[in-house]
């Protein structure tokens, strides 16, 4: 049976294939594909059509709509798909003009060069502006280490880039290419524009009015020496309902932190009235949290994510690295309160003993709950945590579900090791930290 995520990818693939099918069925493109000029021209058209479709889909994926989250199994997965479609769109749109000019290369390199430069044909120039903007903004996304809030503002400008791209799509047929692309092309162009514009409008304007935020205030702040900020927030009006392991977007109404919303894992048991948030200073926005004070108000959007133990196998292995322990603290609270039957083995790896967060609480859960085992793993003393090392301490790994949270490289490494030991992918759950 096809899982939802595969179906989601299938829908994206279908949306990309439709214009290509129309191009070959209803356009003049299919003729004489064995000729070099026609082949490269069609290649350019196909890359443009698919690239533009993917570009419009990225706006829908970034809208945080619950239905899309359900399809891909969590908002973190949706953002990963968003990054992949955005990246693929950039790759295809980069090669769109290159394929189109390749037909000129054998005859006249000068003509090919002129075609790639602003020419006064607005239909083509709009496309160039869009591509240049897209390159700039996505290079910032993939390679820059700029502050999250600044990056997010820069990323919003992709809406403007999309507008130029749409103008290019609509104008290029009559003004520049002078050939029929395919019958119904304007219908396709309208559809693509509508998808992108709808996603963009919802994200920028509609979402804040339709979804809204729950208002909370800071009840306590515990600042630790190693740059950890432990917050307890309490609802001003109505609390949100959530499951342990999920995450929320917080918008601090504080001048120093700025008003941009940021994702944080919930470190509280399911449906607690108060929410515990543990934030590590990673040198970006989190370094500005020193200005927070008790009583500050903050907006809470969510919850999001599917990283929780509900509906999974009873016997579980939790693997946390560094600050990745936060969702497990909430999940441990659930185990503690609900006295679940299944056996839970929690591996918690840090580089130094002083980096262990909430160790006392986790030890208390272990003491009170016989089926919960905590295995702290300090790499300075024991070396890197490996699946072989874990398997020496637990039995029956094939009958368990695995939950991993930590830095990307750590997660990937553990996943690969688990798969090599015969653990099925469907039994491995992980949470993405990075949303850019």
């Amino acid at each position: 049976m096809i899982d939802k995520a595969t179906a989601g990818w299938g829908m994206i693939a279908l949306a990309c294939l439709i214009p290509v099918i129309l191009l070959f069925a209803l356009g003049p493109a299919a003729v004489d594909l064995d000729r070099y000029a026609n082949f490269t021209h069609v290649l350019g058209q196909v890359s443009g059509l698919i690239g533009m479709t993917l570009f419009s889909i990225t706006f829908v994926l970034s809208s945080r709509i619950k239905a899309i989250e359900d399809i891909f199994g969590g908002l973190d997965k949706v953002y990963r798909v968003h990054a992949m479609t955005g990246g693929l769109a950039l790759v295809l749109l980069l090669f769109h003009p290159l394929f189109l000019v390749m037909k000129f290369i054998p005859q006249d390199m000068k003509l090919a060069a002129i075609y790639l430069l602003p020419s006064g044909f607005w239909a083509v120039d709009m496309g160039m502006i869009a591509l240049a903007g897209m390159i700039l903004l996505l290079v910032l996304t993939f390679y820059s280490r700029m502050r999250y809030d600044r990056w997010k503002i820069s990323h919003t400008f992709l809406g403007l880039v999309f507008l130029f791209a749409v103008l290019h799509v609509f104008l290029v047929r009559g003004n520049a290419s002078r050939d029929e692309i395919f019958t119904g092309y304007y219908l396709y162009a309208s559809f693509v524009s509508l998808i992108g514009a709808a996603g963009l409008t919802y994200t920028l304007i509609m979402k804040s009015r339709l979804v809204g935020q729950a208002m909370y205030r800071i009840k306590s702040i515990d600042r630790k020496e190693d740059g950890i900020c432990d917050l307890i927030i309490t609802p001003v009006y109505k609390p949100i309902t959530f499951l342990a392991g999920q995450f929320i977007f917080l918008r601090f109404y504080n001048r120093q932190t700025g008003r941009e919303s940021h994702p944080f894992s919930i470190a509280s048991g399911s449906d607690s009235k108060e929410i515990r948030i543990i934030i590590k200073n990673l040198g970006d926005f989190t370094s500005n949290l020193g200005g927070l004070k008790v009583g500050d108000r903050l907006g809470v959007e969510g919850p999001y994510g599917r990283f929780n133990s509900l509906g999974k196998k009873e016997d579980q292995v939790w693997i946390a690295a560094g600050i990745g322990v936060t969702p497990f603290i909430g999940m441990a609270e659930d185990v503690h309160h609900r006295k679940t039957k299944g056996k839970v083995d929690m591996f918690y790896t840090v580089s130094d003993t002083k980096d262990l967060i909430s160790l006392d609480f986790l030890k208390k859960v272990q003491k009170d709950t016989p089926n919960f085992t905590l295995i702290p793993w300090v790499t300075k003393e024991k070396g890197r945590l490996t699946v072989d090392a874990m398997m020496r301490q637990i039995n029956g790994v094939l009958e368990k579900d695995f939950f991993i949270c930590g830095p990307d490289r750590f997660k990937e490494s553990i996943k690969e090791q688990l798969i090599s030991k015969g653990i099925l992918k469907k039994n491995i759950f992980s949470e993405e930290f990075s949303f850019r």
């Binding site: 070099y36 950039l90 980069l94 290369i105 054998p106 090919a112 002129i114 290079v139 390679y143």
Partner: protein, 189 residues
Amino acid sequence: MKIKTLVTWSLIISFFQFGNILLFGMLEGVSFSFAYGAFAIIFFGTIILSLRSRLQTKKELILAITLSLLMVVPMVILADNIKEYNDKSKEFEQAQIVLESEIEEISSSNRYFIEYITFIGDQISVLNDNSKSMQSEIDRIMAETAAIGRPAPAATPQAIPTTAQQIMTIPDYFEEDEHHEEEEEEDDD
């Protein structure tokens, strides 16, 4: 493959391709400012990508630049080959056009020749028919002549008096008539 790696390599390849085309275009006469743009794209693009991407070691950076530069060579070779192929293709097309017009000319001459032969054939057929009808007429005359007991005239054109010969005999005929008239006048007396 991670999407970031794919994007990185796509950016490097496309930047160099943009740069190649613009540079070759410059060599063929595109203005200096555009060439400057091409150099800027290659230079800054490569530096940014190599510093900000996964290509952080010297080895990877050298590999990326070498691969990108190597792309110029096959592109030029490809362009030359395609140009040659296209030139030959054009020559072939022109030769084909000439050949087709010649074939058309020959076939039109051929048509005329066939029509001429058909015409000659028709004429021969008509002559044959005339010859047959003439023969049957001669046969009929010979049969009639034999029927009245006179020797059949020679079936040669010389045996049949021509109009000229007939005219030549007319004076004799009139002379005979004058004798008859004199005899008739004497009778009246």
